[in-house]
């Protein structure tokens, strides 16, 4: 392979990796940019196969301009982070096409130390960590490959070894170095819409797009009175315009009313969502900084959740003054002239019952009697009177349909009602005792108000699919096929295979530990760990560790220099010096011939061997002729023999 061709191949590897990265980040970059990246990869491949010549400077500039345009148009200024990362990725990819010299290729490899970790902006779970680690090892290996011509396979081994050696240092730095909060933080990447949304209009959705992406994990105290079903309240929708249930305008307003704590705290580790809302059971407050409670008793943050967050949750009871007039108005408001059938039905039930409980019983009876059917792929209803259609014709839907219909009928009967979206259930990890809640656990239900008593939860979906309450959706056998159809290709789809399921649970566990102990290893956890480890000295330790680390680095440096000098001595001299060490006197300044005499007088039984060794040594050091291979081996053997025997 000519050097040009080899360099082409070396840079091709990088281009292919860029292609892989952009495919994996498809959700963040979108179709247009990913396609553009793949076109660049294709172009590079074509150049490598020598089907076309390498691009001229003009063409590369044109391509760069095109990429910038694509990024501006397809990603745009609203997603700043994505825009900059994609610009970086595109620029690097073009550079691999343009690179003609070793130096240019190396500059791309160096840039990769910035490009690859950008992956963490979009995903921080354990699999991404492994992926980025692999990328970095490959990058180091490629650098060895390009710069020193070490074959990629052995270069990879070497790079992996070095990375492995660096791990203890990294661990020490994580544990010991003081945690300083950053002066400036990159705004987190916005997540694409999966799971919850601010507006609910179930009738327009024909198929719930469900993913097995993790939303949060919850560590509940063992002996708590908390029992399933777990309704993780997240968003309250109280603003109904006849079509959509919009999220309340008070979602982001901190709670003013007094409250009292009821029950034990628990911990939730939320994944980066790019949203402000958080998750909790019932009504709750949090002692974690930056986490607030609103008047509905759900938690929210002031800024977007751009990285994993661990927060404490304490259940509370809000002692409100009851519904004030405008709240009552808002929670019973219905636009005129829509869904006349449902309205009529509700008014009829209302007239035949004297309390809310009876009304709800009537409603439940209706759903059960008419054999409503739970489905993840209901037919779309685009009619203006969508609830009428649903109640009388299609009678098939998922939680959103049931919740929206029930809330509508409650409001029609003059009962304050609102929609709540969140998550239901969660997968319990037996070993570690935590719940994992995934996007496919997303759920919607209803809350209604009884004067002097407060808000109550009502889940009409449970009437139709009572199994849904007992656990996570993934455990529901009746919907298994439908559910897995929706998931597409993911490990979850094959969870009935024991091995796959085991593997999935292992990765899940690893990820839990990773999130808990590395991503969320904050100042608090650090000082707790140090206190546990070192007792009362723990406060000195972070400061001390900095000095220790510096000293260690210097010591290592000096050791390395020392070692290098010893290594610089040729083998015969090292052996000779080792033998000279055997003498009682200092032979450092004596000529080999004199040293020989001294050694011979000290070890008369070795005089033959010493003499022979000296001959070889003198020949190897001073003669013009080199030692032959057998002579060199003989000398080494003699040296070792002398040292061994003399030490006896």
């Amino acid at each position: 392979m000519t050097s040009d061709k080899l360099l082409g191949f070396q840079t091709l590897v990088t281009t292919l990796l860029y292609g892989l990265v952009s495919i994996l980040l498809f959700n963040s970059f979108g179709l247009v940019f990913t396609c553009a990246m793949l076109l660049i990869v294709l172009f590079k491949l074509v150049i490598y196969r020598a089907l076309v010549k390498g691009p001229s400077e003009k063409l590369v500039n044109l391509l760069a301009f095109t990429i910038i345009l694509v990024v501006f148009v397809a990603i745009g200024f609203t997603n700043l982070v994505e825009m900059f990362v994609s610009l970086l990725l595109g620029a690097c990819a073009l550079k691999t096409i343009q690179a003609k010299t070793k130096k240019q290729a190396m500059s791309v490899q160096l840039l990769n130390f910035f490009v690859y970790p950008c992956f963490f902006i979009f995903s921080q779970n354990v699999l991404s960590l492994l992926f980025v680690l692999v990328l970095l090892v490959l990058n180091l290996a490629q650098m060895l490959w390009i710069e020193h011509g070490i074959e990629l396979r052995s270069a990879t081994r070497q790079a992996a070894k070095h990375l492995f050696l660096a791990l203890p240092l990294a661990a020490i730095m994580v544990v010991l170095l003081p945690k300083v909060s950053p002066f400036w933080q990159l705004p987190g990447a916005k997540k694409t819409q999966t799971g919850l949304s601010e507006d609910i209009d179930p009738f327009e959705i024909s198929e719930l797009s469900r993913s097995d992406e993790l939303v949060f994990r919850a560590i509940l105290p063992d002996h708590a009175q908390m029992n399933p079903p777990f309704y993780w309240r997240t968003l309250v929708h109280d603003n109904y315009d006849g079509k959509r249930w919009r999220v309340s305008t008070h979602q982001d307003v901190p709670l003013q009313a007094p409250y009292r704590a009821v029950g034990e705290s628990y911990t939730i580790i939320a994944r980066a969502s790019g949203k402000t809302w958080l998750y909790n059971l019932g009504q709750a407050k949090s002692s974690t900084r930056g986490v607030n409670t609103n008047q509905f008793g759900t938690l929210f943050m002031q800024k977007h959740l751009s990285s994993s967050l661990e927060y404490q949750v304490t259940p509370i009871h809000i002692a409100g003054p009851g519904l004030v007039h405008w709240q009552y108005q808002l929670n019973t408001a219905l636009p005129d002239g829509i869904n006349p059938l449902a309205k009529a039905m509700a008014e009829q039930w209302d007239s035949t019952t004297d309390n809310t409980a009876d009304f709800i019983a009537q409603m439940k009876q209706y759903f059960v009697r008419h054999r409503f059917h739970y489905s993840l792929k209901p037919p779309t209803i685009s009619d203006r009177n969508s609830i009428d259609m649903f109640l009388t014709e299609t009678r098939e839907g998922f939680c959103g349909h049931y919740a929206a219909s029930a809330a509508f009928m409650l409001r029609a009967a003059g009962i304050p009602a609102r929609l709540v979206s969140g998550y239901l259930g969660g997968e319990y990890n037996e070993e570690r005792g935590y719940y994992s809640v995934y996007q496919y656990d997303a759920h919607a239900w209803v809350e209604y108000y009884i004067p002097q008593q407060g808000w109550y939860r009502l889940d009409p979906t449970a009437w139709v699919a009572p199994d849904r309450l007992s656990g996570s959706l993934s455990e529901l056998t009746a919907l298994e096929d439908e559910f897995k159809d929706n998931l597409g290709l993911s490990l979850m789809s094959y969870s009935n295979l024991a091995l796959v399921n085991w593997l999935r649970l292992q990765i899940e566990q690893l990820d839990y530990q990773w999130t808990r102990w590395v991503l969320n290893f904050d100042h608090q956890k650090q000082s707790k760990l140090l206190r546990d480890l070192f007792g009362s000295y723990h406060k000195l330790l972070p400061a001390l560790s900095v000095f220790m680390l510096l000293i260690a680095i210097f010591a290592a440096r000096f050791w390395y220099l020392q070692r290098k000098q010893v290594a610089k001595l040729p083998e015969p001299v090292r052996l000779y010096r080792a033998i000279c060490q055997l003498a009682d006197e200092e032979l450092y300044k004596v000529t080999p011939a004199k040293a020989l005499l001294i050694l011979q007088s000290q070890y008369p039984n070795l005089s033959q061997e010493l003499e022979e060794f000296n001959q070889y040594f003198v020949k190897s050091r001073f003669s013009r002729a080199q030692l032959t291979k057998s002579e060199a081996t003989r000398m080494k053997a003699l040296g070792r023999l002398i040292i061994k025997r003399a030490k006896k």
Partner: protein
Amino acid sequence: MNKTTQDIISQLSELILGKEEQIRLAVVCLLCKGHLLIEDLPGMGKTTLSHGLANVLGLSYQRVQFTSDLLPADITGSSVFNTSQQSFNFHPGPIFSQVLLADEINRASPKTQSALLEAMEERQVTVDGKTHPLPEPFFVIATQNPLHQSGTHPLPESQLDRFFLRISLGYPDEHAEKSLILGNNLQRQSLNELSCVLDLTALATLQKAVLAVNLSDSIVQYIINLVNFTRYSGQFSDPLSPRASIALGLATRAYALTQGRDYALPDDVQAVFAAVAGHRLNIATNELEDVVKGVFDNVAVVL
């Protein structure tokens, strides 16, 4: 080649008993085309050694006894008016020989010393504006008495430097002296019976062979370290010059050759060091041994 040098040395050893090392150094000096200075008390065998050396090598030999009234013309020769030809004819002096023994050089006046040393360096003599080249090879063996003797003019340092080696024969050991008394050696009367082992071409080959001896990097470094020690340790008032370094390298090679090796050892350097450096460092012969040992103890052998 080894045999030839060994032959010379053994022949001379029969003449001067128990002084093999000094004889070897004298041969080294000759192989390096240098001039030899022998410093000793009278009656130690200086003249015998130089005469024997000339005989063994088959070279023409002249001896000049230096006295305080010796004039430069007495060694270089002078122009004499030839009445029959009505012109000045040059009568070459004793310097026009292959081996010149300048006996007791420090007895002569500085003017005469200078004339000889100049001729040694230039290998030619200029008399009355006419240049006469000296024969090839040209080898001066000068002897001098230890400086404390009365009536001597010590050679200046710059002129001492012209001598490649300085050796000192010293007293013979008991065994050798016994043999001398009994007359077991050949001694003067049989000096002329020494067989000539070398002709001129063989000598030229030997001199060329010296340059072929391998001086490894470590040996060169050792020489440099030794020379630098005399320069920077502050123990010497007259440190070694680069000319001395060159001489040290050359002498080391020649010494290795006389030992029958085609590569030099640190031992060779140590063997010639006293002879090469002693007079250049301006150290009296009787102190030389201790000083050289001090140098070797301070400079590590480079391997």
